[in-house]
Symmetry: D4
Subunit: 227 residues, 8 copies
């Protein structure tokens, strides 16, 4: 590993070469940070030469602080993400499915992350398995995609069904949608981990960001054909 630069902010040490090393820049996780800390982190990343810096899980105060500092910052309120700088031209095609309307905010974070990673996202919402014909209806969309991200709470059954229909990989995102025995996303998480169809990989509950990064890398691998 060649020498890696670190930007020291006191409360944070920015990993400014992460984009070069891992293909994904350090992204600011705003939960648990003050608005000032988030602004400082974004500034530090931009100062180190990043063309785009962004933060996830921003609340209203943080969004206001960022857009006040950088008036042309772009806020994606559904996804609770804010972007400073230029979004890359998107390539590829990732299908983002949700099982229900309440899974929307997590799917929005997936889509925003894909956009920041330069990958095109298509969202189709509310295709839960309680009406399996709705899943079959989107089979052509699935077939056309580089990879499918499936966002589902409650029983988390959608990835099993989708993975059985396609040779595309399925990135499964359990959500905390549901009540009672959904146990804040645990039911969906276990369902997805034990999906009877292979080709399903799982990220943390409500982790739209992680799913977006993973899907972007899968999609982009088609752009780097083996020599």
């Amino acid at each position: 590993m060649t020498a890696q630069r670190t930007a020291h902010l006191g409360f944070a040490r920015l990993d400014v070469d992460r984009a070069q090393r891992t293909g994904t820049p350090e992204v600011v996780y705003a939960a648990g940070k003050t608005p000032e800390q988030t602004v400082a982190c974004l500034a530090g990343l931009l100062d180190a030469g990043a063309p785009l810096a962004w933060a996830t899980r921003v609340d209203d105060a943080t969004a206001a602080a960022v857009t006040s500092r950088w008036p042309d910052a772009v806020l994606d309120a559904d996804a609770r993400c804010v972007f400073v700088g230029e979004l890359p031209e998107p390539v590829g095609d990732v299908l983002v499915l949700t099982a229900g309307t309440s899974d929307g905010p997590v799917a929005a974070e997936v889509a925003a992350t894909l956009a920041a990673c330069g990958v095109r996202a298509r969202r189709v919402d509310d295709v839960g398995v309680a009406g399996v014909h709705r899943v079959l209806e989107v089979a052509p969309d699935i077939a056309a995609a580089d990879v499918v991200v499936v966002v589902a709470g409650m029983d988390g059954a959608l990835p099993s069904v989708v993975a059985g229909l396609t040779d595309r990989l399925v990135v499964a995102v359990p959500t905390s949608v549901g009540y009672g025995a959904a146990f804040e996303g645990l039911a969906a998480l276990l369902t997805m981990l034990t999906a009877c169809a292979p080709g399903v990989m799982v990220v943390n509950i409500d982790n739209g960001f992680g799913a977006g990064v993973a899907a972007a890398r899968i999609a982009r691998s088609r752009d780097t054909p083996r020599p």
Copy 2:
């Protein structure tokens, strides 16, 4: 409640009027009983006038003890059940689906219980959602049934899909089939409890007996039209 009889065996108190009171006779749960205790319980029930007595979860030693005492006892080895006496003429039509071959023993217990309750069972195995067309193939069977029992381990996703296809009730039986995050049936149990389609009711993990009794009562309710 009119006076209820109890047969005292010392180690057990047989609830000999249960069939009359609840429609289902006391059934001997052989796990945790010695072969001698199981034989004594069956004898006690027959002595009290039951036309049919049966035991579930019988191991080889218990099966041998029962068939030695009553040579025309019927052993259902797959279901680990043994029956002494006359099975009733079956009526109705309950469809018993399994998600995978390994769910077979639990489905066999469902079917054996239905037979003992006088209800006809049809089994269709291995219709997991990883090949959802297999589920669609059995749609006519589902439509023709009084009620559907769905037996599934691992992700437990099948009841959600079946319940979305039909106006029949679904009795869901999670099984302990699977490994790792299946946690001995917990994953399937939570999935079924949080099924996004209504019309799903759940019994204990591997509880084929309970599912059979419930399905039999639902099926038989069609035989007692409202006056």
Copy 3:
């Protein structure tokens, strides 16, 4: 399966033929939806020809939005349900028991769901097993019912006792009532799943809607005698 229609709202895909397919229309789960989204879903279902559309888990803002849009909508505040359109004439007889007064809101959701499904509900509250004579007092009500729904939190012991008294099926609804080792309904859920009396089927914690749909189907099966 014949072709199924879907109404596309962007954020939702309404399964408008679900009533015809499953006997229960798509019902709007308002938790996690904005008031505007709930109104749009109800409108979409009515536009597709549904005689009755309804939403569950409505908060005050959603209730106000719905009744403002449809002034003759019926709000059931206890059950947190709102109905737009004509409730069907009720048939049958479902007994809804609660173990304690605090289980009331869930029982109200059961009853409201039964009403929307066209089935008559009778509620008897506060018959916990700590005074088992109260359970015995309602034995005639139990005997007269098509099916019994038992709603209980804390120790969740009531379904075991009721199921031992009757040949009626018991639909058991654990509630999140209780504290400490009740673990938000987990204790009652496990108790009900392991009930020593057969004939008990379980739905998710606090899931009055699911219990109501299931009970309605059982009750109505008496109206469709086997040919």
Copy 4:
């Protein structure tokens, strides 16, 4: 606290004054000890002047080692206990109820412990709530007892019902009897802790010894009237 004696065996330090201090002698928990260690502990307690020494959870090898060393030792095979020395004359009256036959070994440990503590035990087995009339039948036994020990696995519902019938205290012992969602006694444990009737106190799963000691102390408190 006056000075307390300790007998040093190297691998163990026997608390030989415990009987005088707490009313219950140190009892040898044989699980996890070699037969030789159990014999040495019993010998140490007898050497220190105990009129009776006993061990719980003894397996066959340990039982053989003890009865070989002390030929008039008394083995209670059901309870897996062995006693060396004189059992005291029993006083009082403790009722030990089981919900099912499979709970028998734990109830046997309760009864053996009571005997060693000099308290009379009456056992009534198999009075599960699935036939609640069986519980009502034993109401006179309950009323006559100093205290009631209730041993139950699966749904663990029996203590709630018993406690609602009586002013006697109920010592509840969950057992690991059951399968699936019984989770090795967890379901029964939670049920008993959340029993809706007051007067129920709970000990560890399968802990017949602890229940016996507690019940003996309650029973004996009637023999020490307040001055």
Copy 5:
């Protein structure tokens, strides 16, 4: 069982003969009830002839409603209990220990319950095992008591130490005091259930009421010497 009276309030069925049957009157659990419902329940119990009616877990609004209806009601703010009617003359002697100051409200509920049951309570607070000499200091208090109630959160280790010092029974109450791996009282609950000293019995987390009832019955058993 002789016929038992029930007072019907619609939302509640008061078990008005419970005091006569179980020695403890039905007590109103105010959590999850409206102030009006709590007042109605208290009134119902008083109308049926109870000399004392009381409610636990009352919030400010309920306390105000009760004291407005019955101006000489007694509010115990620490214990969150309110009493209407005459408290009995206390007898006996129950020692109530807490491990820390934060366990105080639960101990207050224990003491209030004892008072309502006619038993005298002595409280000694903050005798945690981190300074075991504080426990030894109270040994004379322990020896003088009829029974000891130990209230502890966090590690829940106090009952083990106390039970090793005395032949008095220990009623252990885990509390939800603590953070992190205390898991809302789970750590203390498991510690108490697995206490290595016999003579410990456990009630639900934060269940001061249940502990008070149990301790009162044990204390009073000394007043009913065996004939």
Copy 6:
């Protein structure tokens, strides 16, 4: 979806067009099947025209039954897999890392699955983070791979470190290696799901098969450049 063929074996319904539909043939999960059933499933798949059929989780009896039926079947004892037919020529490059020697059998299943999917696997074992220089040593191997599969039990920390070094995707496989608070793989599973580096996706505990299928699809996506 075009019509899909199903081969009916009675106890199983083979999804013979799965390879064409999803890129991965139906693979026989031998755990929970008799040797005869596994042989029959393999035969059914071959009869339907599959060039290669294989089974996972085979025990000795099943391995013997398969190799007796097809003498040129290839048994991979480490991976507990058996193959009947021709393995495809491998392409691509997947790096399979283990944290410790005990994770070897799961890694062997990953490698065997990759081989069956026509993808080349390179294994590097025992690069746990307790000697992080060992991870840095393999950085060139990581950089050269299409995708990295990381197999780890105990603390499951390796995927976080690897993902921070590379722009390759990491497929993380928790194993049940470890004791105590490893809780049969739960610790590693949670660690991997909460990995602080993006680009990590997780499969079920010990699920080498699922990881192999996923990694193969990622690797092969480089062979299908976007048009």
Copy 7:
């Protein structure tokens, strides 16, 4: 043990000789205490002769009450600690690492505790394993320290990596930072307990105080060379 003094405040019994006995004075845990109780405890400790009294987990109201009573009290707002009296001159060198910025408040409690115990703390923040070079950068700091405290949420992987680099002990503090499968710190706790490198010891989730006391004792042991 020589006689130990106790200061009686009614609601609390201060263990005023704890500093002499254990090297650490009783520290007031303000959570769950009223501001008045915290002030009274601090006063009691000072009255008993302590040169320094301090409280942890203070909220704004308590901080205000303390600084109003003792105007030269020192408030450490990040650490939520307040100190009354003289801080000792620091010796030694403890390195406090955090994996991320959000772990800062817990690290601040560690550092404040060390200061109160008379030990010097150096903090280095945000050295998560997603950029393992950041960990390697601080290797000289690690080598120079008496002991290292590692504070980490989410995957909790940092202690494993640090412990593999050094012969210094690692005191690991899991934090509740994270979401979903982090389960309020459970994931980090299990990771740290199963760390594959020896030399890691773990304290409760978010327990900066406990970690500080432990690290101070380790550091100070270098000042008490063996005679």
Copy 8:
């Protein structure tokens, strides 16, 4: 970090410079390894110049293989450890306490690890808190020790009591001794993590090796006085 050597065995990569880097050599965890693999690992470490190589968790077959290869290897059967080479001269003084006899094997692993690390261990067994005088009896031993290791299963209460008596650090080792709600060591683990006395640090359940390494480092820090 200077370059670190690695010995490649194919199935393992030995971290041969670990002793120099971390003060503790790589130790072979024999569970999950074949006897041949364990022998090869030990040989690899010795070949790389280690004066002492050792393995933990050895079963009989592995012990035989090791002692056959190195006839003067030393087997500690209680601790299930085997040593090849020269044990260092011990310094320091670590007290190892067990709560009960059944905790002995874990304490033996602690002591064996200390011996291998060159630190003297004194064991005192069976000082459970059910006889707290036994703990007070060993107070002089505690005071004389460099550090105390406390090994306890069941309620895990001993570390809280010990830590309250001393200024020595307590390394707490929960064991899987116990049944029922001990949940394989979970109860003891949670108790120790929430110990109300500071100065307690916890390692994994049954992890005698980790506790020994940690205690050795604490003890040895007294031999490296600050310059």
